[in-house]
Amino acid sequence: MDGFESRRPQRIPQRRPWSITQQQTARGPGDDPRIGVFICHCGHNIAGYLDVAALVASARSLPFVVLAQDSLFTCSDAGLNQIRTAIAEHGLNRVVVASCTPRTHEPLFQSACDEAGLNRYLFEFVNIRDQCSWVHMEDGERATRKARDLIRMGVARAALLQPLTETELAIQPAAAVIGGGMAGMTAAGSLARRGFSVTLIEREPALGGSVRHLDTLYPNRTSARKLVEAQVAAVRAEPQIEVLTSAEVTAVRGSIGHFELEVESRQYRMKLPVQAGVVVVATGAEEWKPAGMYGYGHNPAVITQQELEERLSTGDLPPDLRSVVMIQCVGARDAHHPYCGRTCCLVAMKNAMILKEGNPACQVHVLYRDIEVYGTHFEDYYAQARELGVVFTRYTPDRPPEVVGDQGRAGDKQTPVPPGRVLVYDELLGATLAIPYDLLVLSTPMVPRPGARELAQMLKVPVDEHGFFLEAHVKLRPLDFATDGIYLCGSAHWPAHLDEAIGQALGAAARAATVLSKEQIRSSGIVSRVEESLCRGCERCATACEYGAIEFVDVTRSVEFLHRPMARGLETVHVKVARVNPMLCKGCGACAVVCPTSAMVASHFTGEQVAAMIRAALQAPAAMGEDHGTL
């Protein structure tokens, strides 16, 4: 503020201006904190290790705490009622719950506060399960002390919590579906039938995804080509769906309600903007190529299941194959990929049966570790394969199959050579078998598509350690991302059978429709705020923000020049100040950390609130005569 001072606000606070302003707005005179503390047993999860009664007693002695209670499951109907009732009966204006994790349970407790007429941001969560009973289960006494310290910190912060407001935003009733395979087409179709417009974005020139490369489909030998063609026709006939093929997403802006995707279309040779309220990720997966394993890559008689399938569909196989050996779990459940490929056993069975039916004289051996045919229909499929004469031989990873001799015949029909053999130890016979092969087919797992990580970065969603997209919760939110408004289905999530992928796609459409059906949504109240009078537009916050939530606007200010005798009086100046988009801001506080003038305030995690927690942490209750006890 070189040489001038702003007129508004009249008094510029010298230190921690944010907390002063907030205190003025939130807590009027006589509105002292009245804190209720609720400590959860979580069944055995907490009470099995911590002394909950002692925690209740120590919470009761803390400043501003007017009530401390325990309950078996605070998240149950009874537990929530306990909170609601206590707010009313004891006039609580802050609530602290010490239980499990805010990740799953904070919204629930906040809603209970809301329902009792308390602003949801006057709620404080203390995690004494994950941070105490679970990690220190072998030392309950010290874990109890740590829980007591954490509760004391939570109470100290709660006393300074301020009510926050949430912003509302209109929802654009349109979806962008990324990936035009069976999953993407199914999701798009369902959303269109619900009346929402959909843009379906496919990287390849044609719709259909990996199913296009298949011959027939288990369990009923449906023609893959016919199924895909019917689905493509349905999508093309749907007026609500706009299809962009040869198109890739190159940038994503915005957030739930108003995403803007930049799509590079090779067809139109231009970048197209796609606007959508939600995004569905259906980018699929692809077969892993086992370079160098069992001679793959240099022995033409060694191919993958997908390559076999392509040859089956084009008829490009020698008619007189005498022996085909399939090896399962190639590059799966090993150092390459620790996971099971889920679909490969069924694929092998299907192709083995097609070979066997086409030429019953052909020996087909499947070498497996565990046959992964779960559920009601797949087990039957396994039985059918055995009835057809497909031979299944189990191997263990400590004695994997071995390929010896020369190559098989399939690659070179003109000059037959002695066939190669696969050696495998059969534990049932207790002997090593030498199986000659004309064709060796390797079953490899599906892996994420190239570009999945880049897409994840654009959407700001995570991938797992294998590169598959990571959902919000493995059990109960399999089709959602943690980021609102983005959904997931098909093999982009995890290798899936086609019927599973279709089910997930319908499911993702339903999840997306829960947003699109609403006219507007609300942001969180925990977003950064700018004290404009302190902002000097240095843009450091924008550099720090990972979510693109900060933009700069010109504002006019009336200023009074105090130090220039010649030009005394009010004058209007234009200044550049930061502004936060509450729909994009995740409340992480990175901006507040880098702001040199403390103009950026991380609501709900203000300096004063955090300092209070630190003070409470260092404040060992003298009456108890213990060491700090924090583990």
């Binding site: 979580c42 069944g43 055995h44 490929g341 559920g375 829960t514």
Partner: protein
């Protein structure tokens, strides 16, 4: 407002109801039992994250009960369905609880005074409840129910202690079943599964040997809210179980029982074995398997970790027989020790192993009243008695307007059931939606 009926309020029904309600449809959620929650409520933890089952389920149950678009009808059954997609007339019988739901606070004072003790169905008879009871501690709605078969007052006109102690005045011995007539656009079937009763597998001695239990019984034993408060104790003598054998494919993949694979049992057993280790690091578990199946996200790593670090040994081989050591044959003088006789497939030899507890991974089978419900709904079942769907339209049953999800379609794990539930919600919403808004035929 358009309405949808969801039958069954386990995790699949709950998810379907929430997805429909969040799309602005009004949902009638019918559950046969006194509380929503289903099988998942009986589990202690869930694989592969070992999340506490109640902790992740309870919020969804509460969401369901609080949602302005969801009307839960607990302790109710569908009796008749007529009409077609877009207009199904449904009759629901809301059974008498003999407790006024609007007055009962679930305080449990009545149950503490009720003199009549009966086996607790939620704990599979491993503990006792009273004739007036809360189905389980986190029940939604938190309302007591009187078991009319067991209540002395309802049977013989004597007692009535519960009514005397109830301060809310909620006991109503005169309460009658209520018949509700609903009109809905679509129906979601989410009626779940039962576990196979392994008694016909006489070679395993279930119900003959006290320390041979089923996987679900084990789940209740190790659950904090279960009959032993989460301590893994042998039913015969209440001593801690240190060595546990898990017998896979009990009734599954079996030509004389259930031909199919029950999908979840391998990882389920491994989770139970992991929990034994969590409770007691000296516990050793042995999983006797046919194929060790687990291809869901993170499952194989979970199984490998259990084998590496959590005292779980995998034994490839089917168990032929379980018998008990005779008295005095054990040096420690222990009785009722199950001995597992199995063929070790890696050596080809028959071997025996004495354990403290033998846990049978019983098949997932269609719910016992599935044929009855299929008749009422007029939908086809598959050869095993699960609801039939076509492979590439996984939510649609044979009758238009009726969709299905979860284990009524066949064995499925929780993420599969949840995804299927959302899929069923999508199809049901499409049906309901087509009726309120004409399709846009013109582009733009």
């Amino acid at each position: 407002m358009n309405e949808v009926l969801v039958i069954g309020a386990g995790i699949a029904g709950i998810q379907a109801a929430l997805d429909l309600a969040e799309q602005g449809l009004r949902v009638h959620l019918v559950e046969r039992l006194p509380s929503i929650g289903g099988r998942m409520a009986q589990l202690d933890k869930t694989f592969p994250t070992n999340d506490c089952s109640t902790c992740i389920l309870a919020p969804k149950m509460v969401d369901c009960s609080r949602h302005p678009n969801i009307v839960p009808h607990t302790y109710s059954e569908v009796e008749a369905v007529e009409g077609e997609a877009g207009q199904f007339d449904v009759r629901v019988r809301k059974r008498a609880r003999y407790v006024d739901e609007t007055r009962c606070t679930g305080c449990g004072e009545c149950a503490s005074k009720c003199p009549r003790k009966v086996p607790d169905a939620f704990n599979l008879g491993l503990s006792q409840r009273r004739a007036i009871y809360l189905y389980f501690p986190q029940a939604v709605p938190m309302v007591m129910t009187i078991d009319p078969e067991q209540c002395t007052y309802l049977q013989r006109g004597k007692c009535g202690l519960c009514a005397q102690v109830c301060e809310a005045g909620a006991i109503d011995f005169e309460q009658q079943d209520l018949l509700l007539d609903l009109c809905v656009d679509a129906i979601v079937v989410a009626t779940g599964f039962d576990f196979y009763n392994p008694a016909p597998l006489t070679q395993y001695g279930y119900q003959r040997y006290p320390n041979v239990i089923t996987a679900l019984e084990y789940e209740r034993l190790i659950s904090a809210s279960g009959p032993t408060g989460g301590h893994l104790l042998r039913p015969s003598d209440g001593q801690p179980a240190k060595k546990i054998g898990f017998i896979q494919c009990t009734g599954s993949r079996h030509v004389r029982h259930n031909r199919y694979c029950s999908t979840v049992c391998c990882v389920h057993a491994i989770k139970e074995a992991t929990l034994a280790w969590e409770h007691d690091h000296d516990a050793d578990s042995y999983v006797f398997y046919t194929d060790l199946r687990g291809s869901g996200k993170g499952f194989r790593e979970y199984m490998d970790r259990a084998g590496r670090a959590y005292g779980v040994t995998y034994v490839h081989g089917r168990v032929a027989q379980i018998f008990e050591l005779g008295p005095g044959s054990d040096s420690a003088g222990e009785t009722h020790k199950p001995v597992i006789r199995y063929e070790d497939a890696t050596t080809g030899r028959v071997a025996e192993m004495a354990v403290d507890l033998a846990v049978l991974a019983t098949s997932l089978v269609p719910a016992h009243d599935a044929p009855l419900l299929a008749g009422i709904l007029g939908i086809d079942m598959d050869e095993y008695g699960f609801v039939k769907t076509e492979p590439f339209s996984p939510a649609d049953t044979s009758r238009p307007g009726i969709v299905a999800c979860g284990c009524c379609l066949g064995p499925a794990d929780i993420p599969q059931s949840v995804a299927q539930a959302s899929a069923a919600a999508a199809r049901a919403a499409e049906i309901a939606w087509e009726l309120v808004r004409p399709r846009h035929r013109e582009k733009g």
